[in-house]
């Protein structure tokens, strides 16, 4: 592709860590980036974690400077509440149609004081907090979300359902709330596309043997992340449903692995991270990790495991496990292959598999790329650089290509940029 013939702007889909890093790197090189994000905030899944393995660094501290730079970078056109509807053309010459939903709050006027939340009469479960706390119909998903501008959830806002409510608008001193905003359709001329829309997690309701959704105090990994988070629904206090702190926890690995057919690469490591989380809040807590194979590749990860072993946690290799209610508590019934036994615990955390998001197949159709047999975006060659697809000009990065940890997602994002910049030299 000749630079003189094609468009230089790049479309990055998804403002998670991979999308943010790709956009930042492209901007450094002087390229204009259109960063499309489906939700109202940037940061994706990574900002849901309080700390990341294996250096146990504060996730927000790590990502917030990047998110902030994003908002101030003149080369990056961040479009939140936006989705790609149509892609036509070829490498160097794409025409992309974007549908941008109305936020109903002006990004320039709003200064992020949050005064509009309190008077809103609607309360519902906060998806960002995995349903563990509530939000209003006008909301930001969590404290510190960037951009720090709320959106109106029109599906639940009573005004948009016909009632004459202006509570939020009346509370705003900056005239930032505009009910007349309309969805927009944009057309962009793009040279290359990077799809970095991330992944979802396996819903353990599909595996009822773990008691999720039926037994109290059985949590998914993401729910537990939010419980531990200092900006989360309990401000980082780990309590059972009865308000007391748990004395014993079972962390069960490989939830959904049999159903999905692959190892999600990160769960052993984050389960060990959870060990640190729990010990830091409740030093005397007894933790048992139920696992099949310990997957901790890499020069720094075994060290992390050794440290965790020193805290007195039990690791039990199992073939099968079941979670059942026992009186007021929980019991984990397990089979090591050699013996069958049970362990009473106060809380269970399920390390759920990574799986493609529901909207991945739709996006694949729009982009004209294929999915692999697991529903992730298909790379061109698994043994070559995994960021190219069968469609020239469309690159992929991060968990949308398959389960991986943060550093590998970031490297893929940088690699996608490397491909774009080197192909247009």
């Amino acid at each position: 592709m000749n630079e003189k013939e094609g468009y230089l702007d790049v479309l990055v889909i998804g403002a998670g860590i991979a999308g943010i890093e790709a956009s930042s790197l492209l901007s450094n090189s002087g390229r204009k980036v259109h960063l499309i994000e489906k939700t109202s905030y940037t940061g994706g899944n990574v900002i849901k974690f309080e700390e990341v393995f294996s250096n146990m660094e504060c996730s927000t501290c790590m990502v917030a400077p990047r998110q902030q730079e994003l908002l101030q970078d003149k080369n990056i056109n961040l479009l939140t509440l936006a989705e790609v509807e149509d892609v036509k053309g070829s490498f160097g010459n794409f025409t992309v149609k974007i549908r941008k939903k109305a936020r109903y709050v002006d990004l320039q006027n709003c200064i992020g004081c949050n005064a509009c939340f309190e008077p809103c009469p609607v309360s519902l479960k906060n998806e960002f907090e995995e349903g563990l706390s509530e939000r209003k119909a006008i909301y930001v998903p969590c404290a510190g979300a960037l951009p720090n501008v709320p959106m109106i959830d029109t599906e639940n806002c009573i005004r948009f359902k016909g009632k004459d409510c202006k509570a939020c608008q009346e509370a705003c001193a900056f005239e930032a709330i505009d009910f007349n905003q309309k969805d927009e359709q944009l057309e962009l001329k793009i040279g290359a596309i990077i799809a970095a829309t991330g992944s979802g997690t396996f819903d353990p309701k599909q595996t009822p043997e773990y008691g999720y959704g039926k037994i109290d105090d059985v949590y998914t990994a993401l729910e537990f992340e939010r419980l531990y988070a200092s900006n989360g629904p309990t401000e980082g206090n780990i309590n059972l449903k009865n308000g007391k702190a748990p004395k014993s926890v079972a962390i069960i690995h490989c939830i959904g692995r049999d159903q999905k057919g692959y190892c999600s690469a990160v769960c052993c490591m984050y389960s060990l991270k959870f060990n640190h989380y729990l010990k830091s809040k409740i030093p005397d807590i007894k933790i048992t990790e139920f696992y099949t194979d310990l997957c901790i590749p890499g020069k720094s990860h075994q060290k992390f495991y050794e440290k965790m072993k020193e805290t007195g946690t039990d690791l039990i290799r199992i073939q099968e496990a079941k979670v059942e209610k026992q009186g007021k508590g929980i019991t984990v019934k397990y089979d090591t292959g050699k013996k069958k036994d049970s362990l009473p615990v106060d809380m269970v955390i399920l390390a759920t598999s990574i799986e493609p998001r529901d909207d991945t197949s739709e996006l694949a159709k729009v982009l004209g790329i294929s999915l692999d047999e697991y529903g992730f975006f298909k790379e061109e060659h698994l043994e070559a650089s995994s960021v190219t697809t069968s469609k020239p000009g469309v690159f992929i990065a991060g968990c949308v290509q398959g389960p991986k940890n943060i550093q590998n997602s970031v490297s893929q994002a940088n690699a996608a940029v490397g491909k774009i910049l080197s192909l247009s030299k």
């Binding site: 660094e57 690469a265 043994e383 070559a384 650089s385 960021v387 940088n414 490397g418």
Partner: protein, 561 residues
């Protein structure tokens, strides 16, 4: 020149106006020496607000600007741009945070007002001592040095090379290709490697923008990002050397395998037919998998995790290539019995479990074991081990293939010194940041890719090679100049006593010692402005621009009133 400080207090709607008595703040600061004008405004960060400030600066011929509003993390950039647009150096500006850290942390209006006055006075006092700071521009060369001609080095070179960017590829051995040239096939697609590698090596040799040095080593790397001076020594008859300048350096020197002779339990080097993975790869590539006596093996034991205890980490690729070996064996020797002795099966990622599932089959055993020892029993080898239940067991095998841990190359630490980067976990090169900077180092312009950074598979290696490409292509642009950090350290020649404490504490190697003058000198291209050297300096010779003692002192004075 007479200082004319303009002070503007932002109401931020009700956020500050309702919590702080702004008029009181204005009254408190109006008569301060140097203050030319004090005004309030509804929302200074808005379009109108910025225009207002610009007009005010021009109207009053202001030399300095103070804004009392939100956090500098929100709008310092915004108001610095306003200054620039209005003709004031953007560093002659100070933002007093009277919102997040004043109005919003108390309900008591008097308390908030008193603090707002304190903070605004501090900002006014400080800004008086600000100096204009100018952005610097440095020329740079876009050429790149790639050390290591394996898959990572080859990929990086091919991606980067262009008519306006020369690549110098330095390879220690006499040929390019690295470890991968030994493999017949690579997992998981089991595609043939040698054709691909031959092609790539040919592309490199034919590329007129890539200069290849084989039988050569990098002796010296001096300088800094954009301007490295490199010396390469060749192992030819003349022992000649080459010198050239590059803007960036990529270390892609790969890895080596743990030497199983270091532990006696596997009989390596003592018993016949105990081979390492690499030896087996070569055997397989040559087309003949045979025992020492020339016969084909009927039973093979593949032993995982050799050296894992000694190195202290999992090398990520061994379980997968052991599965690959099962396939090699099954393809070439009918009815061969293969047993894999492993501790934990490491097969992360979307395709690897399928590869494992498909590899399992007739006459392939996966035995979870511990305390493994390889001994001789008659003609055959005997694998002694403890099974999952802890019971002692034995298994005979004709051949044992050891999967040794991946280790850094023996010259890694030497190279790290040459390139001024650190060694990290496992003895591999240390990355700048475990999560967000896997391929950069704390030395700007020096990158790492592939197994030199840590054990990984080929796909991840290539991703890293392309990631480095992305970093270099976006920062080292032909014709474009580099803009280093402005708020940096400087060391006074007269006060420096040559104790070198500053050099010891600098994480970036930004300070060098001038032997002639016996003083420390800050490299303005590298300094990142943390101020550690300033605190370490016993003679007060080091100062941090924009964070000098005098400037901070002004804030201190107001804090203790």
């Amino acid at each position: 020149m007479e200082k004319k400080i303009g002070v503007y207090v932002c109401e931020c709607g009700p956020n500050i106006a309702e919590k702080v008595d702004i008029d009181k703040v204005i009254n408190a600061v109006s008569s301060i020496d140097g203050v030319a004008v004090v005004e309030k405004f509804k929302l200074l960060c808005s379009g109108d607000g910025k225009k207002f400030l610009e007009d005010e600066i021009k109207k009053h011929n202001l030399t300095h600007l103070v804004v009392a509003a939100c956090s500098p993390k929100q709008h310092e950039q915004t108001f610095m741009e306003v200054c620039e647009n209005a003709g004031i150096n953007p560093y002659l500006f100070q933002l007093a945070n009277i919102r997040e850290q004043c109005a919003w942390i108390t309900e008591d209006k008097d308390e908030a007002t008193e603090k707002a006055i304190r903070l605004t006075k501090a900002a006014i006092g400080r800004v008086r001592y600000h100096s204009s700071l100018e952005k610097k521009e440095l020329e740079c060369t876009p050429n790149v040095l790639v050390i290591g001609g394996g898959v990572a080095g080859i990929e990086t070179s091919l991606q980067l090379a262009s008519p306006d960017r020369k690549i110098y590829l330095v390879e220690k051995s006499s040929s390019l290709g690295g470890l991968v040239t030994n493999f017949e096939k690579t997992f998981p697609n089991m595609s043939l490697t040698s054709d691909v590698m031959k092609q790539k090596i040919q592309s490199v040799n034919e590329n007129e923008n890539i200069k290849v040095f084989t039988d050569a080593e990098v002796e010296e790397v001096l300088g800094f990002f954009g301007n490295f001076e490199v010396k390469v020594k060749k192992r030819d008859e003349d022992k000649s050397s080459a010198e050239f300048n590059v803007g960036a350096v990529v270390l892609a020197t790969g890895s080596t395998l743990f030497d199983p002779k270091k532990t006696s339990q596997y009989g390596y080097g003592e018993l016949d037919n105990v081979v390492t993975a690499l030896e087996f790869e070569n055997m397989n590539s040559s087309g003949k998998i045979t025992l020492k006596n020339g016969k084909k093996p009927n039973s093979v034991a593949i032993i995982h995790c050799v050296g894992r205890d000694e190195t202290g980490y999992c090398s990520e690729v061994c379980c997968m290539y052991s599965l690959k070996f099962v396939r090699y064996l099954k393809d070439k020797i009918s009815n061969v019995k293969v047993s894999n002795f492993y501790s934990d099966l490491c097969i992360p990622g979307k395709t690897y479990q399928k590869f494992y599932d498909q590899t399992k089959g007739k006459h392939v055993d996966f035995i979870r074991s511990a305390d493994l020892k390889v001994t001789k029993k008659g003609d055959k080898l005997n694998i002694e081990y403890k099974d999952e239940n802890g019971s002692k067991k034995n298994l005979g095998a004709d051949m044992a293939i050891l999967a040794p841990a991946m280790e850094p190359t023996s010259d890694a630490s030497g190279l790290a010194e040459v390139a001024s980067i650190s060694i990290g976990d496992g003895g591999f090169f240390s990355e700048e940041h475990e999560k967000l900077g896997q391929i950069s180092t704390t030395t700007e312009g020096i990158y790492i890719a592939g197994c030199a950074q840590g054990p990984k598979n080929i796909s991840e290696t290539l991703v890293q090679a392309d990631a480095v490409t992305g970093k270099i292509l976006s920062s080292l642009i032909p014709g474009k100049k580099i803009e280093p950090e402005v708020k940096i350290s400087q060391i006074s020649e007269s006060f420096c006593i040559g104790c070198k404490k500053c050099i010891n504490v600098c994480s970036y190697g930004a300070i060098t010692f001038d032997e002639a003058k016996k003083i420390s000198v800050v490299n303005e291209a590298i300094c990142r402005g943390c101020g550690n050297c300033v605190a370490a300096c016993p003679s007060g010779a080091a100062t941090l621009k924009h964070f000098t003692f005098n400037q901070i002192y002004q804030e201190l004075m107001e804090a203790v009133q």
